[in-house]
Every structure is written in C-alpha cells, then in structure tokens.
Amino acid sequence: MAHHRPAPLVVLPLFFTLAANVSLARDESQSSYHELPGAPEMAAPETGDLPQVLTASRLRQSKANTPGTVTILEGEFIRDLGILNLWDVFRLVPGMTVGYVGSNDPVVSYHGTVAVEQRRLQVLVDGRSYYNASLADMDWTNLPVPLDEVERIEVTRGPNAASYGANSFLAVINIITRSPSDTHGVELRGSEGLRGDDGFGHYYGSIGSRNGPLDWRLSLNQRRSDGFDFRYARDDTGSRTDEKVDNYDGYDTLSLNYAGELELSAADTLDMEMGYHDVHEEEDPALYSNFNPQNKPTTSGEDWHASLKWHHEPATDRFFHFQLYYQTRERRRTIRARVDELVPDAPAFEADVNEDLEEERVHAEFQQTHILSPALRIVYGASYREDRYESDTFFNGEGETNRSRVFSNIEYSLTPWLVANVGGMWEEDSLGGDFFSPRGAANIHLSQNQTLRFVVSKAHRLPDPFESSPNWQYRAANVSPDALAELIEGERAGPSVTPSSPDNPIQPLEEETILSRELSYLIQQRLRGGLFQAEVKLFRDSLTNLIAGQTNLGDDPDDEQRWDLDNSVDLTQKGFELEGSLNLGDNFFRATYAYLDTDGTYKGSPNQARDPQFYLTLEQRMNARHSGSATWLRRFGGNTSAAFTYYFTDEIRTNHFERLDTRLARSWHFEQSLVELAAIYRHYLTDDPLYREDNNWADRNHFFAEARIRF
C-alpha cells in the first residue's frame, strides 16, 4: 500500500492560494465584488433586477417532498442543547441508539443490530464517506468534524442506496459542515469538564476570510477525555469480579482542517477541503487479556483527507458537480504480550504484537441535475471508488477493492398533490459482484400542510474484506528471552483465522439485503404565535442473509468461541417512530419516540456451534424496544437561553439509559464581537453502565463550562 504523502498535502493550501490569486488577476472584471454599486433596484423596485441566489441547486428539499423520512438537526440547535460529543447527537434521532464497545469506542445505529463493528450505516461528511473500508465500521472518536463546524446533520432514516450506494443499509448520516464563505473572522471556543467527567476538554479555534474570489477557513480542534471512571477487575478465569478499577480508555485527538471556496466564474465554484487528524487513544488492557499484556496499550495514528468539488451551474435548471477525494487512515497499536506456557513445559517469553492498519481511499463522483419542468426533475451520475488496505496482522499483507456505480432518480409531480420518486443505483464491486438497489416513493399532499408518504426501497451490504477474507494472526517482534527469539522472532504464531487454519472457519459470504417499507405522515401547521411540526413513520423492514457470528481467533475447531461468521440470520423489524416540534414564542419543544419490534430467524450454518439464540441476540445488541428524547429550549430575550433535554433508551442489552442535560447560556453582543458563556449540567438518572458492564461513571452528575468568542 502506498503510504500517505504529507508533503504534497502541506503544499496544497499554497496551491489553492496561488490559484486564487491567479484567478483574481485574470477574473477581476467578473468578480461580483468589483462591479459598480447597483442602487437602481432600491430606487425603483419595479424595474430593478437581481440574480436569483437561492436557486434549486442551493435549496434544500422540503420535508414534504423527500422520498423518505429525514431527521434534520441544525448545528446551532445541537450546540444550544449542550451536546459535547458528535455521537450524542444521534440520541435525538428517533430509532437511533448509541453505545460504547471495546475501549470507549462509541457506536451509533439505527434500528439496532450489531454493536461491535457496526457496519450498516453510511456516514458522509460533505460527500466523503467515513465508513472504514477493511474492518468496516465507524470510528466516531476520530471523525475529524468539530461540532463547532457542523452546519446541519441530515439522517435519512431508512436504506438509501438509490442515492448513496451499498452500505447505505439501515440509514445514512450526512454531516454538512459550514461553508468557509459563512465563517469569516475568528471564532474561539472551549468546553471543559469540571466535575464527573473532569478529563473532558474540547477546544476549537478558526480563522477565515475572503481574499479575491477565495473564501477560506483554517481551524484547529482538540478533543480529549479520560474516558469512563471504572471497570470491574477480572479474576483468573477472565470473569468480572466486584472490584472496581480505573479505566484506561481516554483519548486525545487533534484536527487541523482547511476549507476553501473558490469562485471561478459566475457559474463555477470549486470547494476545497483538506485535513490532518492526530490520534492518541488508551486501550483497556482487559480487552487484551489473552495476551497477558505487559504494557498499557495505546493506539496512535494519523489521518489525512483532501477533497475537491467543482460545481457548475450554467443555468438554474441544470447543474452538475464533480467531486474527487482522497483520504488515508493509519493506526498503530502495540501490545507487549507474555506467554507463560505456549506448550507444556515451554519457557515463558514476551513479544511485541501489533494491530497496525493502514487504509486509503480514492473516490470520484459526477452528478448532474436537470429540471426539465417545474414538475419533472432528473438526477443522474456515476462514481468510482478504490480502497486499499494493509495490515500484517489482519490481512497478512495488503489488499484492494474497488466499486463502480451509476445512479439516477426521477422526481415527477404527476398532479399538484402527488409527487413520485423513482430511483436506483447499479453497482459493481470487486469483492461482491454487481447489484441493483431501487427505490420508489409517492408523496401525497393531503393538503398544503399535510403529506403522506409511501416508500419502498431495497439495499445491500457487502461483506467487508475482514469478514470475507481475513488472514488474521499475530507476528512476534522483540522477543525475549533471546533464546526463543531465534525460533519465533518475526514469525506469525499462535491462534489464527486464515485460509490455512485447521478446518478453515472462513465461509464464503454473500451480501446482506434489506427490503424496507415505510408509511409516513407529515404535518406542518402554523399556529397563532407558533409553528407545529410532526412526523410519524410506520415501517416494516425485512433484513435477510445478515452476516452474524463471532470474530474471534482460535485454532481449535471445537472452540465454540472461534470465528464463525456466516449469512445465518434473517430479521423482520417493525415499529413506529415519532418526531414532533412546537415553536411557541420563546419556547421550543421537541420530542422523539421510537418503538422497535424485532423477529429473528436463525437459518443455521454448519460451522456455527453455539445456540441459535446467541446469533439472534448478537444481531440485536443495539436494538431498543423503546427510545426517545424530549427537549425544551427557552429564551429569555436575545441574550439568555436555557435548554433541557431528557434522553432515554429502554433498553440496550440489559441496560437502561436515562440522562438529563441542562445548558444555561448568556451572550453579550459587543460592537465588533460576540461573547458567550455557558454552563452545562448532565445528570444520569440510573447507575446502569453504558452498554458494556465496564463503562461506568463514578458520579451521576457532570458539570461542564463553556466559553466562546467570535470577532
């Protein structure tokens, strides 16, 4: 695998700036900022004319016309509630659950299913997919998106492969960050845990401006946490005891991001983004008990990304974009293992083993929109993506996958009260063959304020390289004593999951499929002095061929904990979800609720030794029958605000979750600056651990202080 190349990336901003200057010199006459002032439209409103700014390409689709339910959370709303971690945002989305696996690794899901390596969501940041390629899951801790830069988060609640491709399986999370043309000036913000979670800190600083035709922003974000407070010590057999010990599960990350928006001409814009992310995470040694770790393992790493997106809008009724991005991810984790008795009477030895992993992704996408008439809009496009990965431990080397797609969607208003959407994506994957994912939706406008939606969609999830072709075994390095080094230094040894393992446990896997049916109702009603909005979604999803099982090492074919992944589970998930808000004077209320009922069928697999219920349970670890939230935002004039939010999940695994967040904020608007101070109080209503028995807080009450200045 090619290693990431920091030097060219560092040079990129310089290039962008040069490009901007060249363009400025050439293009000055076209830049709108250099035109003569246009006062006539003020003097004679009848005769003046202005360019249409909010054209179809810039307007967001109204909820009444989306082909499926979408929850939209504004960045400002998220910050007003006192949410400090991006993953906590999803507790506000009906049907979504949040857990923590491994060593304080957040997991987010919609309609549950597995927790470890949750791979059934698509997560996009400004069009870039953050879904990891090889060991497919989402690394929320290291998503380099400062909360301060979130403009809004759109969650498509349901499969949306017709728009986003395979792996847009249960839902699609689309994070849109602020345009650098909206963030001129300086912004500084800091949040610090004072009690309860006192190792928490979030610091953000950004500077931006416009130079000629280039809007730009440079930002720095540090996030740190010392993780949960305690876990339970293990006894000799590896079982938990009652003894509480400190967790070793903190993290400290640093992101440096650049965003630029270059106005090439009246019809062309180039968005440029690049970023560097530095990772330092502590790993709970108990998770590596098999290695008898002699060190406190940590994960370090570096991620890079660079993206170019060209928008071309020659007319308001036809426009396209072309996006090219490249990103790399590198993780290094070394465990000093101690083996007392490899075989009977063998001497003890120590060795370094690693879980290092490198990934890189290149993606190019083209998308064209034609608005043929006010009633007919066609979108089509194509994309190509290539993923490369390298890990000595997990793959015994490197690998590569690629995926080509073509997609289209037609939105047609058959009558003023009926909007039909028909779309689909065809894709070919180097690992899994080719697929077609269609979607059809009918939006019936019962009245100006009420819409009924019928949606049927199908999507696939392909097994990732680790699921389908692992070659997992640890290589010993720095072996001591020296006497043994000659034997095993540099050798892969110990339990394995490889094609040559005894009774090769790796099954050929097929893709998973979801067929989702949705009936939803939306009402948006003006009230005297307010605005009421509510959406109800009824759903019935059939998930077939789910890849279920354990991803553990082992050589012994009789070991029931050994690797046994197979397409062995079908699930039927049905239920309903509510999302409502009421804006009344100085008060804003919002509530969500989700009910989820799951029926599972185990289809059996010759290599799965455990009780069928085990596999069914595994595929429902993130499922919660009841979950929801309630928010009350209250303003006192233009300067003071209070927010109260209650979250509950009943229950994930066997744990009940209830939390109350309060944020009080006061802002001061000076002539050239804005200052805001806030206090956040977070109260856990139960002592239940968070998802995992080892995720515990010592204190139910957490206090944070926050300060922000903008000038």
Binding site: E35, M42, A44, P45, E46, N449, H669
Partner: protein, 312 residues
C-alpha cells in the same frame, strides 16, 4: 460595493448617446401632450424620465387622474422657480434641488434614505418614498415567523443612527431589534454572522451600501444556510431569495404622488413626505417550503397587515 457617490456621474449628468435619444423621445412625447392642451391648465413639470416605460406610466396616470386639467411638461433649466416639479428618481431630485433649492418638488421613486440625504428641510417639498416602511416590514416578519423575538438590522456606519424609530416600533411589537454595523465590504460576512447569531430574522433596509447587487449573494446564502429568514428589503430581493417583502407597485406609487400634486394645486401646500399607503406582499414560496415553513398566502398576509395598521 458600498460606494454610490458616483451614481450621478454615471447616470444623470453624463448621458450616453442612447440615453440622449431616450431623453429626446421623452421630451417629444411630453411636448406632444402639452401641445394639445387648453389654456385653463395647471402645469406640472417632470424630471427624471430615463425610463420610457416609467414616463409612459406617469403620463397615463396623470391623464387618468386630471384629464385635460393638467399639462405635463419636461423640466429644464428654464422651468419657473415656483412651478411644481415631479421627480422620478433620486438623481433627478438631486439635480432639481441643486439648481434651485426652493423649487417645489414632489419626489417619486427615491428611497426615504436617499430623499432625506438630498432634502434637509421639508419646505415646499413632498415625496412618496419608494421603499417599504420598515414598520410594515417588521410586522410582516412577525406574521411570517410568529415565534420571532429578536430582529437583526444590518447597517452601514453612515446610517447606523437612523434606526431609532424602527427599534422603538419593534419594541412596541414585542420584538427586540439591534443594529449591527458593517464597517466595510470585507467584514460583511463577519458582521452578518454576529447578526444571525442574534436575530430570529434579518430586516432588510434600503441602505444600498449593505443591500445591493454585490451583497445579495453572500447575504442571502449565509442567512439561508444558518436557517435565518431575511425580510425585504425589496421585491427583487425576494425573487433572489429573501423570504418576503411588502412593496408598492409603481402605478400605486404614482397615484399616491399625484394625490400630493393635487393637494398642491388645490391648496398651494405640500403635505409631508410619506411612505405609500397602498402595498402588496410578495413571498418566495420555494424558499419558505425549503425551510419547512408553511406560509399564509400573499393576500392573507396583506389583509393581516392592513388590519394591524388600521388598529393603530
């Protein structure tokens, strides 16, 4: 983008050949009308006929209102110093006033701000301002966003102190209004961002240093992306993407101007300058829908505004 000092040089005093031709056409048109008039006529002079359509409109409204009783003649340097002049642009108003500060004038198609900058005393002067009154715009904002409590007003440094009355009106409506000064074009977004952090909506003003062709894109896009509505300032802004505005069609502005003219000929006095009474509401439904904001119809908003104004 915020410097309009050179407007006169650009538009009025240095006519192009095409402009000259247009002036000539208007002159001929008016001469023709005056040639056919009788002896008992009052005479109204007209300045600022750059736009033939506008001149034609004024001509036809004069005829409709006064028939043969009033003769419309082009204003020139020889126009008697006590004759009433109807101006149809800020430039024309400035020109007439510059030539004779005591000339009686009824001004049309000039905003309140522009007009006040040109005319510093009210004597022998009246106007129908071309911009919508900000009180009405405020009320429209409140009707559209019932939950609104705060209003952000963007202003150039020069006009920052001219919003006291609007701030008072806002208070009467239960709104807190605040002026955010945009000190230079370079700081527009920075200052707008602060304003958006404060206001539930942005009240567009006729300050052409802030709201103009060059600022329309950053103003509307940034506000939209921050989920903030912009009210006004004019009808073209609504077409460009602000959510709504009140406006008075040119025909109504002319008719109300002619009421002032009539008062002059009947009483020899000119009433105080004012905003037009007649108005319409325009909304950008696409923008409102996209922001998931159901809106009443334009006519229903207009009626609500009228009944609110009647109550006061």
């Amino acid at each position: 983008m915020m410097d309009n000092n050179n407007i006169q040089a650009r538009k009025g005093l240095l006519p192009t050949w095409r402009g000259l031709g247009r002036h000539l056409g208007v002159f001929l048109l008016l001469s023709l009308v005056s040639a056919g008039s009788g002896a008992e006529q009052d005479r109204l002079f007209f300045a600022g006929g750059d736009d033939p359509a506008l001149t034609e409109l004024i001509q036809s409204r004069v005829e409709a209102r006064f028939g043969n009783r009033l003769d419309l003649a082009p204003y020139n340097q020889q126009t008697a110093s006590d004759a009433l002049v109807l101006t149809a642009s800020a430039d024309a108003l400035a020109e007439v006033r510059a030539n004779n500060p005591d000339q009686p004038v009824v001004s049309l198609f000039s905003t309140s701000g522009e007009t006040k900058r040109i005319i510093d005393s009210a004597g022998r002067f009246s106007a129908i301002y071309s911009d919508p009154p900000l009180d009405r715009q405020l009320e429209l904002g409140q009707l559209i966003i019932p939950r609104a409590r705060t209003v952000a007003i963007l202003s150039s440094r020069e006009q920052a102190d001219s919003f006291d009355q609007v701030i008072d009106s806002a208070e009467r409506l239960g709104l807190e209004a605040r002026v955010f000064v945009v000190s230079s074009p370079d700081t527009l977004i920075r200052d707008l961002t602060r304003a958006l952090a404060y206001g539930d909506f942005v009240l567009g003003t006729p300050d052409s240093r802030i709201f103009n062709r060059n600022t329309v894109k950053p103003l509307l896009l940034t506000s939209y992306r921050r989920n903030r509505l912009v009210i006004g300032p004019t009808r073209p802004f609504v077409r460009a993407g602000s959510v709504a505005s009140t406006y008075t069609p040119a025909e109504d502005q002319v008719d109300e101007g002619l009421q002032l003219v009539e008062a002059w000929f009947e009483t020899g006095e000119l009433p105080d300058p004012r905003y037009p009474d007649e108005f319409q509401v325009i909304i950008n439904e696409q923008v409102a829908r996209s922001m998931n904001l159901p809106l009443p119809g334009e006519e229903s908003l207009r009626e609500s505004l009228i009944s609110r104004e009647d109550e006061q």
